[in-house]
């Protein structure tokens, strides 16, 4: 047995998926071959399907909807996980004032601001000058323009986040900004930041300060696509704070002078050494600061989601089984509609196994059609829900069906076509003469 598992572990993932699919479908295929061997029932099955086409269509639709919901749920959950993970992937380690990791994750990564104490100059200095830190950047949120949050940061962070700019150039002075791909401002547009975000924003609090967009980021699939990024000195300046540099020094960008560093709610830290990330997290978890991996927080949220998914999967499977059971009970009733024709076949000398094959093929056709249609339903549902979620959260969710869904459908098909043997048995155990009289 161990040899089998070791062998299985060495099989490439794609092949594992294909093999598993085959294993899951095998019962259905084997049953089909065994049941149909030596006979040609398909023409008759076609005739039966056509005779009660609306009833049959209803059955197929029921199966399709239940399969579609199950498949859609699983795909959507995975799409959400992938989308949120991609939106967070540039954020290796975030340092902030002690508080809630989840809140800070929402604030710093997904730009859902929360009011927290600031990281002060000496702490910043300690982070920025740490030998293992490759990149440290302030994430100073709080202002907005319309629905776009304005984030004060540094040029290296913009490059880290989005890579090469899609247009224009990097901000180079206090009055310049780089817009996200979906921000409502183009290169050359001028705007005045509002204090705060959302309905409570005070649009005239920063009157007199006007900034010009000089560059545009490519799409990142995260809420940052809506954001407007400015030099952190600009945020400090519109709030009347120190500039981060000694008086007379008009540079923007790091290094900042800790004595004139007004503070930032969060700092993004990146280390190139794997172990250093863990070490830095440990080092900056102190009385004054909290350090966390957004990815780890997200992963634990996902793990929780995963538990919910398990429950949802069980529920989805249960619904599917219930629907299948309903459909099979319906099939027993349906086979009564066909009872006279089936009795005729037996009167003409058709072997029981042939009649069995006709009923089973008929059921299998409904189930298979429902399953295939269900995949289509799931695909459409996932497409639609993803669009809504993306629009609402600005997190690009690209859910699509993948192997787990196909495995689920294959398992469902196999299970139900095996269950469909029951109505088939029922059909051949009826009395020929009684049924023949109609």
């Amino acid at each position: 047995m161990r040899a089998f598992f070791d062998l299985w572990d060495q099989v490439p993932v794609a092949l594992q998926d294909v093999l598993l699919m085959c294993v899951l479908l095998a019962p259905a295929v084997v049953a089909g071959i065994v049941v149909m061997r030596g006979y040609r029932p398909l023409q008759l099955v076609g005739a039966m399907l056509w005779r009660y086409r609306w009833t049959n269509a209803l059955f197929v639709a029921l199966i399709a909807v239940s399969v579609g919901i199950g498949v859609g749920l699983i795909a959507q959950e995975r799409g959400l996980r992938k989308g949120t993970a991609r939106a967070a992937e540039k954020f290796d380690l975030v340092v902030s004032a002690p508080g809630s990791e989840v809140q800070m994750l929402l604030a710093a990564v997904y730009l859902q601001p929360v009011d927290v104490p600031l990281i002060d100059g000496p702490t910043w200095e300690k982070i920025a000058t740490h030998e293992n830190v490759a990149l440290a950047a302030p994430i100073a949120y709080g202002d907005s323009f319309g629905a776009s949050p304005i984030i004060g940061t540094t040029a290296p962070f913009v490059t880290h986040l989005a890579g090469e700019l899609a247009g224009g150039r990097m901000f180079a002075s206090l009055n310049e900004a780089v817009a996200g791909a979906r921000a409502p401002l183009g290169v050359g547009d001028t705007f005045t930041p509002a204090h705060g975000i959302g309905d409570s924003a005070e649009s005239d609090a920063h009157a007199g300060h006007s900034l010009t967009v000089v560059g545009r980021m490519p799409a990142t699939g995260s809420p940052w696509d809506k954001a407007i990024l400015v030099p952190v000195e600009s945020v400090w300046s519109v709030h009347g704070l120190a500039s981060g540099h000694a008086p007379g020094d008009d540079r923007i960008g790091p290094p900042f002078d800790p004595a004139f560093f007004p503070g930032t709610p969060a700092v993004l830290v990146r280390a190139d050494q794997l172990w250093a990330n863990y070490a830095l997290r440990s080092e900056f978890t102190s009385e004054r600061t909290m350090a966390f991996f957004p990815g780890a927080v997200l992963a634990s949220l996902h793990a929780m989601l995963g538990d919910v998914r398990q429950v949802m999967s069980v529920m989805a499977v249960l619904t599917q089984v219930l629907v299948a059971a309903g459909v099979l009970a319906g099939l027993v009733v349906l086979t009564r509609l066909y009872a006279r024709r089936l009795a005729l076949l037996r009167a003409l000398g058709a072997p029981d196994r042939f009649v069995f094959a006709v009923v089973w093929c008929y059921a299998a056709a409904l189930i298979s059609a429902g399953a295939v249609l269900g995949v289509a339903v799931g695909l459409l549902a996932v497409e639609a829900i993803s669009r809504v979620v993306t629009a609402r959260t600005d997190i690009l969710v690209e859910a699509s069906l993948a192997w787990p869904e196909f495995h689920l459908v294959a398992g469902f098909v196999s299970l139900t076509v095996l269950l469909a043997l029951l109505p088939a048995f029922n059909a051949v155990s009826r009395n020929i003469i009684t049924d023949l009289r109609g």
């Binding site: 047995m1 161990r2 598992f5 070791d6 572990d9 060495q10 993932v13 598993l20 699983i74 996980r81 992938k82 949120t84 993970a85 991609r86 967070a88 992937e89 290796d92 190139d272 050494q273 794997l274 172990w275 250093a276 990330n277 863990y278 070490a279 997290r281 440990s282 978890t285 991996f293 990815g295 780890a296 997200l298 992963a299 634990s300 996902h302 793990a303 995963g306 398990q310 999967s313 499977v317 192997w403 787990p404 495995h407 689920l408 398992g411």
Partner: protein
């Protein structure tokens, strides 16, 4: 009925048998005192081995990479220093997307042993020893 549940259903008992029967590598056995690779490690390079340990909180969600630590990786102000790192951790590149297991639950990882410094092109992390194409389960 996802794949995991299914496989657990099919193979729960068998997995237990397997775990009991195989040789599980101790991470320290992969190094000599001077942090060069041990003969033991060299002899098994490229082969699939099993190692037990704990899953450090992953740096990224939905990745296929995690760090296997010898001791549970809580936030421990006394032990997370550089000195402990090289021979106490193993970089794991998994076959499928990592499903997080709590940092204090012992797991067994099976994968192909790779030696030598390598920089992850996507994550940018440098590792000296890795298990690739790995699968893992609760010990």
């Amino acid at each position: 009925m996802n794949r995991r549940t299914l496989l657990i259903g099919v193979g729960a008992g068998l997995v237990a048998t397997r775990a009991a029967a195989e040789e599980v590598v101790n991470m320290r056995d992969l190094y000599n005192k001077d942090l060069s690779f041990s003969d033991y490690a060299k002899a098994r390079a490229g082969q699939r081995i099993a190692a037990s340990g704990f899953m450090a909180p992953p740096l990224k969600a939905e990745s296929s990479f995690f760090v296997l630590t010898k001791k549970p990786m809580a936030v421990c102000p006394f032990c997370d220093t550089e000195a402990d790192w090289p021979d106490d951790i193993l970089a794991i590149y998994t076959k499928r997307t990592v499903e997080v297991i709590a940092f204090n639950v012992q797991i067994v990882v099976r994968g192909a042993l790779e030696l030598g410094t390598w920089t992850d092109p996507e994550l940018g992390f440098v590792s000296r020893v890795r298990l690739t194409d790995a699968t893992y389960e609760r010990a």
